[in-house]
């Protein structure tokens, strides 16, 4: 029996100060060109928390607006506001402000590496603990804070990375080793942000699915960071570290990596683990990435736009045994970009889209919705990268025309019918196929969609170990209604035995007649 999707969570944290302090575009510029016009101009382009809340793609990400609704508004969405569409919480998650996110980072730290200044903790604690997903076990982890002089000392003399809020240093992440670059303050900060956003995703997943924490057996982390030390740089394991803080006492887990394709690999792995009967409830989870904050900031500032890459993203999906209701994950017909596929776009799309369709005896138009790279075009278009989801839909449509699955005249309408506008922040793995899983579950349960395809692609060449890139895909379908019980019901077994006995009797008769 196929496994099913029991729910998904999607969270964001608005981290404007981290754009300046930790985004690699900015940190590189500070080294190469410290007096640049860009660095002077950037603070004028930072969004407030309220602006980030009112931004429609963010509301879409946390589940307050359907992507089809978002598509009705003209792009760019930067200056568009809709009444009521500025909520902190949504169907799938929340948008956490930066000060509370620092509190969460402190709470997820188990090595006393993250320290916040006393008065900051005092000022933030009340609203942090008011969050319904922040449970007692997390509240118990709050450290009362350190003196301002200690913050100053660690930042100025001990190579700690400052945590800045509203332009003021309110804490720090210190190094976990004196010489090991894998445990430097920089790396620890990146990893702590990933862990905190993964934990927040898990907490919301528990909220939205209502599952008992004790019932989760296994967690797969699929972000793009690595944790380890100089003797095992990518040792892991973010999954178990986040599961510990989220209170998943009966779970273990592992990290699955594949650049931006990681989440789809993890999704297929998780669905297969459940289907095989290895585990009953498997979660995939990923936190976000500080390095990519303000990645295209230069283009956004040049074009008079706000810094739109000020959000840390995270998500989690719960897979479970077939319940006859929730959408199924069809692990029998997956697409994969193989070593031999090559890099021509045609071969890539064939391997990811048409190969699994052919195996399942389907046409391109039999898939109601495709979800490939769901980057928000507000962010990518001004940076010269175009509308990424649209480009994917055009390629799938063009391949459909070549195969005769659709007419050339349908090329123009295909993206609107079988695709969606992009709404996810450009956090690498976060927009890659998976933002639609939550919406897809709802669409299928409401009968709006019968079959969808999740496509993850990853730029492996960035790691300089291969020139190849990668991709995998998997289909989600409406539940066939056949559960494990139904498939092996008593009547069914009686029928099978009856038939076997009849066949046996017939063969005996035939043998007797021959004699």
């Amino acid at each position: 029996m196929n496994s099913v999707i029991k729910g998904a969570s999607y969270i964001l944290a608005h981290t404007p100060d981290m754009v300046m302090e930790n985004g690699t575009t900015q940190t590189t510029e500070k080294i190469v060109n410290p007096n640049s016009e860009y660095l002077k101009e950037l603070p004028n382009h930072i969004r407030t928390y309220e602006q980030a809340l009112a931004y429609l793609p963010n509301q879409t990400y946390i589940g307050n607006m359907h992507p089809d609704e978002l598509a009705k508004y003209d792009q760019p969405w930067v200056d568009t506001t809709v009444e009521g569409m500025n909520q902190r919480t949504g169907k799938y998650g929340e948008i956490m402000p930066e000060d509370e996110f620092y509190m969460l980072m402190q709470c997820v730290d188990v090595f006393e590496l993250v320290m916040l200044e006393k008065s900051f903790v005092a000022a933030t604690k009340e609203k942090f603990v008011a969050n319904p997903v922040i449970d007692e076990s997390i509240v118990a982890r709050i450290h009362e804070g350190v003196d301002a002089s200690e913050v100053e000392h660690f930042v100025n003399e001990e190579h700690a990375e400052p945590l800045v809020f509203a332009g003021k240093t309110v804490g720090f992440v210190k190094r976990a080793h004196d010489v090991d670059p894998n445990l430097s303050a920089h790396t620890m900060l990146e990893n702590m942000v990933t862990k905190a956003s993964a934990v927040l995703s898990l907490l919301h997943l528990i909220r939205v699915t209502g599952i008992n924490k004790e019932d989760i057996d296994y967690v797969i982390d699929c972000c793009e960071e690595a944790c380890g030390d100089m003797n095992q740089r990518g040792g892991g394991n973010f999954a178990k570290a986040a599961a510990e803080i989220a209170g998943l006492v009966n779970a273990t887990g592992c990290d699955v990596r594949g650049f931006c394709a990681g989440p789809t690999h993890a999704f297929i792995n998780a669905a297969s683990l459940v289907k095989a009967g290895t585990h009953k409830h498997v979660v995939i989870v990923a936190g976000g990435c500080t390095a990519k904050l303000g990645m295209n900031g230069k283009d956004h500032v040049k074009k008079g736009l706000p810094i739109l890459e000020d959000m840390i993203g995270g998500f989690a999906v719960l897979l479970g045994e077939n319940d006859g209701i929730n959408p199924e994950v069809d692990t029998e017909h997956t697409g994969k970009h193989t070593v031999g596929t090559g890099s021509a776009p045609q071969n890539v799309i064939s391997s990811l889209v048409t190969n699994p369709l052919d195996a399942a005896g389907l046409k391109i138009t039999d898939v109601d919705k495709y979800s490939a790279e769901m980057q928000n075009p507000d962010i990518t278009k001004p940076a010269g990268a175009g509308d990424v989801p649209l480009a994917n839909y055009k390629m799938i449509a063009a391949l459909g025309v070549k195969r005769g699955d659709l007419e050339k005249k349908d090329l123009a309408t295909f993206p609107a019918v079988h695709g969606m506008v992009g709404w996810a922040p450009t956090q690498g793995h976060i927009p890659s196929g998976v933002p639609y899983i939550g919406v897809c579950r709802d669409d299928i349960l409401e009968g709006k969609v019968n079959r969808a395809m999740i496509i993850g692609k990853g730029s492996l060449f960035l790691g300089r170990m291969t020139n190849l890139f990668d991709g995998v895909s998997v289909m989600i379908t409406k539940n066939s209604g056949k559960t494990e019980e139904a498939a092996v019901s008593e009547e069914h077994i009686k029928g099978l035995i009856g038939k076997a006995m009849k066949d046996f009797a017939a063969s005996l008769l035939a043998a007797a007649e021959e004699e």
Binding site: A344, N347, I349, G386, A398
Partner: protein, 108 residues
């Protein structure tokens, strides 16, 4: 253009002579193709990579331009580029590429 790619183009030009090099691009948009073409002819317009201020003047085409298409076996071309040809704004790419070539190419 990716800094690593700029470095490789520069090294190839030094190794084989700029007059013997043809750069074939596969960018998805006219603007992106134009920027890459400018990089290998007039120098890196973003002043970030090894080709900053280096006017190689290399011959450069986009794979969807007729000059390249006519050099390739039609079956192979259809198999490798046919789908993207349908997707891309080929006219826009040709106009961007031609204007850069006319202005900066030294070996046409």
């Amino acid at each position: 253009m990716d800094l690593e790619n700029q470095k490789r183009v520069k090294e190839f030009a030094e190794q084989y002579g700029p007059e013997n090099i043809v750069v074939v691009l596969g960018a998805a948009e006219g603007e992106g193709a134009g920027l890459a073409a400018e990089t290998v002819t007039a120098g890196d317009p973003t002043f970030a990579g090894p080709l900053t201020g280096v006017q190689l003047g290399l011959t450069v085409y986009h794979v969807c331009e007729p000059e390249i298409k006519n050099e390739v076996d039609p079956t192979v071309y259809d198999e490798q580029v046919g789908m993207m040809e349908m997707v891309l704004d080929v006219d826009d790419i040709i106009s961007e590429m031609s204007s850069i070539r006319n202005e900066y190419c030294k070996y046409l």
